[in-house]
């Protein structure tokens, strides 16, 4: 059973990064209803927001929803409460990235891979996963 210990710092961090107010969401589910990727997510967009509202940090960070989000903005366009959901999803991704888990050490990358991989993918990975 999960104890409800609202992680206020985590809530505040999400709100700061995304510039959204979590209490604005009244859980109507319209974001999930129109999301082209909701079927692939373990927790659909409205539920990720629900985890955020309750300050359930682990549930938010463990969910794959934010990684499936393509930022197509359908949800943001349709939200009756003016919540910019893609920004909330981006905030989750940013928190992961800033945690600096799974950093890339350039010297250890396989030479074959360096030659085969598209330069754009490498540049993107370096910008996100290196100091």
């Amino acid at each position: 059973m999960s104890k409800l210990l609202i992680d206020k710092d985590f809530k505040r961090r999400i709100e700061e990064i995304s510039d959204q107010k979590l209490s604005d969401c009244y859980q109507c589910g319209r974001c999930t209803a129109g999301c082209p990727f909701a079927n692939f997510m373990d927790a659909p967009p409205n539920q990720v927001i629900r985890f955020m509202q309750l300050g359930l940090k682990d549930d938010v960070l463990d969910s794959q929803g934010p990684w499936f989000c393509a930022a197509c903005l359908v949800c943001q366009t349709r939200c009756p409460r003016g919540v910019d959901i893609p920004r909330l999803m981006e905030a989750v991704r940013v928190i992961h990235l800033r945690a600096k888990e799974g950093l890339i050490d350039v010297s250890e990358i396989d030479k074959e891979l360096l030659l085969d991989a598209p330069p754009l993918a490498l540049m993107s990975a370096f910008s996100k996963y290196t100091y």
Partner: protein, 651 residues
């Protein structure tokens, strides 16, 4: 034999398209008793009405049948025309050949035949119609309002302001009711007492209002226009005329008792007024706790200190008799018993409290002067769990209905708590949040904006662990079970009609529903009237509602009462059910079936007497009467029989 005239309307093409009106007229002319028949394009037009008037005069008609639309539309029109022609209005009848015939058929032959049958049955009816005179009743121009909460206060003020003398009876020692107990009112956060007490004072000072507090209506006899009411004024043991309301008696009284007004969170004395702004501001003695009454002859401190010798231990209950023309019932509500919700721990966990107790904690005049404090240790609670629908919307175990106000007052509780305790956490468990009202959704948004956490799910259990209150619930939106540690739990309890008001309801002979809320005459169109003419309903006694709705309904009930009380006499339709005393055996079956309490058994003569002002002419008694003694005027058994025979004759 009566000379009967039949007037057939084309209603433009509404009737004439499907019914051959010319052939019909010729057919009807041949029917026995019909002296005159004609048709016209629009019978309800002035020329059409003149045809009726002229024919009555020229053909010396005794009765009229107008074959046209439904009597709900034009019965009055043609009865008025018949009167202008010199007939009694009740020997004019309508035969409905539009809604009952032309509109619902396509085949002209069949429709014409049916129209002919409809007209013939009505001709049979009108043959036996008697001229009748409207029933007139003199009106006692005084009103009785039962219940001194905001509903009763508003109704009494409105009636009195219309110039009608009003008696306001309140069961408790002061008027004000539940509203006087509330802290602030949603959605504007007006201080409840601040907006209520001026009205209370207005009641006490109004020249047209006679306030009878600490009294109960014992008996009501009579009917609209002329009720005779017995009111029991309970012994207060304080002479109301002498008492100046100085308050020395309750200052000096040594006995402390849990205050009902403070919902047990504060104390009062054995001689007391419920709250400082009480109206009337005269104390009463609670004989269950007063030493003098428990140990006869002892104490008497109040009597000794009273500067005007108002304390009178010899006082007795008193019966007052009043005559009134109309009654407004505003007996209010109680909250659902929290003890019945065993899983929430009320009564065993001291910091699990009721919504009404929380109101007192928030009230600036309450036991903590508005500070939110725990009952157990007086500490400021840092996290409060509010449980909505405590007892409501639970068909299996508690109340089936939604109590309507709890969503909004809980939102208000959360907001006021956040205003008092800035770092406090308000967590609200709910099933749905219902904010139907002007400015209510906006208010709810404000509450969530200010940081209240709403969790969608019911609480399964509240228990204590190591001195902490643990609330077990679910968040159905995230699909998780949740466990919350709380410093205080507030149960948003539902509304029930005031307890022990059944006797009054029986005395008034009005109806209530399965939940004991008073039943209105029509749920949409007559929401402030009871089924008994002259008795009106106001406030939460009729169903859960918030203050603005109560005030609106009270004003509505008042205006209904005023409509009767400003007339010298009131008139009713005479087409009601009478009693043939020669046939009546006094079995009383009709008394039970009458929905309007219009029939009473006279035990001396063993016959039924009809209260003419109450009978609505529904016919229940006539169909139930085994001896045929109960007969509806102008719809007697013989008429119905002749109508049936005539309808079947040609088939």
């Amino acid at each position: 034999m009566k000379r009967i005239g039949v007037f057939i309307c084309h209603c433009g093409i509404n009737i004439a398209k499907t019914v051959d009106v010319e052939a019909l007229t010729e057919e009807i002319k041949k029917y026995p008793g019909v002296e005159h028949a004609e048709n016209y394009k629009y019978m309800c037009s002035d020329p059409g009405q003149n045809l009726v008037i002229d024919a009555i005069k020229e053909q010396k008609l005794d009765a009229v049948v107008v074959a046209a639309c439904s009597p709900t539309l034009h019965e009055n029109t043609f009865r008025n025309a018949s009167e202008r022609g010199g007939l009694n209005r009740y020997v004019c009848e309508m035969a409905n050949i539009r809604e009952h015939c032309s509109w619902v058929h396509d085949d002209k032959t069949v429709a014409t035949k049916k129209a002919s049958l409809i007209i013939k049955t009505i001709v049979e009816k009108v043959k036996y119609d008697e001229p009748l005179e409207p029933i007139q009743v003199n009106v006692t121009k005084r009103a009785l309002v039962i219940g001194g909460g905001i509903a009763g206060i508003q109704a009494a003020l409105d009636i009195a302001n219309a110039g009608v003398e009003t008696i306001l009876v309140e069961k408790g020692p002061s008027i004000g009711g539940r509203m006087a107990q509330l802290s602030e009112t949603f959605p504007t956060l007006d201080c409840s007492q601040c907006i209520l007490t001026p009205k209370m004072v207005e009641v006490s000072q109004h020249k047209k209002i006679k306030l009878i507090a600490y009294s109960e209506v014992e008996d009501v006899e009579g009917s609209v226009g002329n009720f005779k009411v017995k009111i029991k004024r309970k012994a207060a043991y304080v002479d109301q005329a002498k008492c100046t309301g100085c308050g020395i008696c309750y200052e000096k009284c040594p006995i402390k008792v849990d205050s009902e007004f403070e919902e047990g969170l504060g104390k009062r004395k054995a001689i007391y007024t419920p709250f400082p702004q009480a109206v009337p501001n005269k104390p009463i003695i609670d004989t269950e706790h007063c030493t003098f009454f428990l140990k006869p002859g002892k104490c008497k401190v109040c009597q000794i200190v009273c500067p005007v010798q108002a304390v009178d231990f010899e006082q007795q209950d008193e019966i007052l008799e009043e005559e009134v023309g109309a009654i407004v019932v505003a007996t209010g509500y109680d909250i659902y018993e929290p003890e019945k919700l065993k899983e929430y721990g009320y009564g065993t966990i001291p910091d699990v409290i009721t919504s009404m107790q929380f109101e007192r904690l928030l009230s600036a005049s309450g036991p903590t002067v508005g500070d939110v404090r725990r009952v157990s240790d007086g500490k400021e609670p840092k996290r409060i769990v509010f449980i909505q629908c405590a007892g409501s919307r639970d068909k299996e175990n508690h109340l089936e209905y939604c109590s309507k106000i709890c969503c909004m007052y809980t939102a208000k509780h959360a907001l006021l708590y956040k205003h008092r305790v800035h770092d406090g956490e308000a967590i609200i468990f709910y099933i749905d949040v219902r904010t139907a009202g002007k400015g209510y959704e906006e208010f709810y948004n404000r509450v969530t904006d200010e940081g209240a956490t709403y969790i969608r799910g019911k609480v399964s259990k509240v228990y204590q662990d190591n001195g902490k209150i643990i609330v077990l619930g679910a968040d159905t939106l995230s699909g998780k079970q949740v466990e919350v540690e709380a410093d205080m739990v507030v149960l948003a309890l539902g509304m029930v009609p005031t307890r022990n008001s059944e006797a009054l309801v029986r005395t008034l002979k009005i109806q209530c529903d399965a939940n004991a809320f008073l039943t209105e005459a029509h749920p949409k169109l007559r929401p402030v009237e009871s089924n008994t003419t002259g008795i009106y309903l106001a406030g939460a006694a009729q169903g859960p509602k918030d203050i603005p709705e109560v005030v609106a309904q009270a004003s509505g009930a008042a205006s209904k009462a005023i409509a009767i009380l400003t007339q010298d006499e009131i008139t009713f339709e005479p087409t009601i059910a009478g009693v043939d005393e020669d046939l009546c055996s006094g079995c009383g079956i009709c008394v039970g079936v009458c929905p309007y309490n219009a029939r009473e058994l006279d035990r001396e003569e063993m016959v039924i007497k009809v209260v003419e002002a109450l009978c609505q002419g529904c016919g229940s008694c006539s169909s139930a009467c085994p001896s045929g003694a109960a007969q509806q005027r102008n719809l007697i058994d013989r008429q119905i029989e002749r109508m049936v025979v005539s309808a079947l004759e040609e088939n």
